[in-house]
Point group: C2
Chain length 355, copies 2
């Protein structure tokens, strides 16, 4: 495998650790064309502002939301931060808290720390999904938002979103779903996760992950306008009146690329991609299990497995880009750039290292 040289962009054939991927060719081309447009200044850059509206509409279609409010964020982190931010601003407590399973993304730690919101994490069950009893015990009248994950970063699990929403709403809290990674594959599964499946209030869904948009392109979606209004600040010297985004200047490449990817792939292309990568994940899991390696069942295209000490490091030494779960397991994310041949080569390197 080729060593990295200075100024050589990442070779994706060795990347098994990333939730980002190679953009769709149409998305790449549109991103290049809009590289110097700034959707953060819609009165100046009117074309890209219109494309952003269309991208949000399409995200609404994918997540079953007829009238979506929201915008194209820099990624899932910004979408999660802004969801917590809106919840804090809309609530009336002086000591707000946020409740999420321990499987929640570390952006929730950022959000809580930054926003002065207490982060209460609850355990997960044997299948790595939020424990509902623990959740019920953790929420109280100061809870401003409950966060469920639809496609967890470590094991690709989908929390029981509908039941969590009931618990959140019974406590007077909002319900946010982090579908940053899962949002573009879940429509082809039986999981309950979307705006139609439960009365959730907001969602994070990233075009730059399974959506095959170039970075940076995330999505914050909300059922009601109040969410976006709660985030808006006045914007003098822009010929628009307010801005609900965390950042100011934003990437036209991300917005135009996201729209082009969605128009090219929704829905048949995404369905095929889900099937291919789910099959790849099942292939890898069965190869690992056949070697006696303890492997977590890939219910979405993500494989976690317990390697012997030193094996992980040896695989990285031969340039495999892999990462670990918090408990140290190997974690392989089957993104659109991952091929069966690549996984075969990975397994064969693993065999050589273990022999």
């Amino acid at each position: 495998m080729q060593r990295l040289r200075r100024r050589t962009p990442q070779e994706f054939d060795c990347v098994l650790s990333s939730m980002c991927t190679v953009p769709h060719p149409a998305a790449h081309d549109e991103a290049v064309r809009f590289l110097s447009s700034n959707p953060g200044d819609p009165a100046t850059y009117q074309t890209i502002a219109k494309l952003e509206d269309e991208a949000v509409e399409l995200l609404g279609e994918i997540t079953d939301l007829d009238e979506p409010y929201g915008y194209i964020t820099s990624g899932g982190t910004e979408a999660n931060i802004q969801a917590v931010h809106a919840a804090r601003n809309l609530a009336e407590t002086d000591s707000p808290n946020l409740v999420a399973p321990e499987s929640g993304h570390f952006s929730l730690t950022k959000a809580a720390e930054m926003l002065g919101v207490e982060l209460r994490t609850v355990p997960v069950d044997d299948d790595y999904r939020a424990d509902l009893e623990a959740l019920e015990a953790a929420v109280d009248s100061d809870t401003v938002v409950v966060v469920g994950v639809a496609g967890t970063t470590e094991y690709g699990r989908v929390d029981p979103i509908a039941a969590m929403t009931d618990i959140a709403h019974d406590a007077g809290a909002r319900m946010h779903v982090d579908a940053s990674w899962g949002g573009f594959i879940l429509p082809f599964t039986e999981y309950e996760w979307s705006f139609a499946d439960a009365p959730i209030d907001s969602m994070a869904i990233d075009p730059h992950k399974f959506g095959q948009a170039p970075v940076p392109a995330g999505g914050l979606l909300a059922r009601d306008r109040a969410t976006v209004d709660a985030l808006a600040v006045d914007t003098p010297y822009l010929e628009t009146t307010s801005q609900a985004t965390l950042t100011g200047t934003r990437s036209g490449a991300g917005v135009a690329g996201a729209l082009a990817a969605m128009e090219s792939l929704w829905s048949a292309g995404y369905r095929q991609q889900y099937r291919d990568q789910q099959a790849n994940a099942e292939y890898l899991a069965s190869e690992l299990q056949a070697r006696g390696i303890e492997t977590v069942e890939p219910t979405l295209p993500l494989v976690a497995a317990e390697l012997a000490p030193g094996t992980f490091e040896s695989l990285r030494e031969v340039d495999w880009r892999i990462s670990r779960t918090a408990s140290g397991e190997l974690r392989v994310v089957c993104m659109p750039h991952v091929t069966r041949e690549g996984l075969e080569s990975f397994v064969s390197d693993l065999d050589r290292i273990r022999s």
Copy 2:
């Protein structure tokens, strides 16, 4: 002038309102090559992580800081938010405040609202620079940071940074300089604004403005490591231990583009650009003054002028992208894409409208 069509990227020849610009060709090319790299995951995307280190080093050179700590942000808004964030986290008060001139960018409003920091704005003097007496009266023992602007958004003014730093430090507060717009032209002026000019603690400086990088590419710089450490959260499942950025996934295009632009233009290219645009601003100001239009002297390449009611709207109707100051004056920013011919055409449209 051509009307905007769907999917046609912005024509920059009519843009006089933006602080963004057309990227340098080398920056454009590098951005395209690194469109799918994520500097937010440096253990996976090692090349772009190395380029980011080099970009921060170069920003240090431009701002006279030998050992810069910081990172490439999504823009000036993120850099300002994180500077206030670090100041809040490093201070010991329960009721933190931030003091800035009323000429400060609206990202300070975002930062304050989000971070639970009181924003105290002080008036500016007759030349639109922070009033030092008012500043001295506004700071107290709960002040965590004073923000000075080196190149204000509305009039391109540089605050008295050294004197403000004294006031900040005497009060036990940090000093942050917002040079988001001015940072790449101030090295060629007599202004005091850099890390060498005063013992400032942190700075925002945006490659995607006068640096001629593609969006999104801002910069947060700090004199000490404590600033960055104060922002870091743990990052499980990335093979790096912590992350000080506001966002998670970040734009490889912005980072690679910023480095390529700086390597191409620092320092001779930026010096020429400053001279050309300062001359353009002086040309426009003198043309406006010659027509009896009250015009603020352009001490940096930014012109503000008082137009008769309706004139501004008429100029926008013939597709000029212009914006207004908070008090309603026309505001023209002479960025690298602005040409003398373009300004002549603008003046001639103005004459036609006024006749």
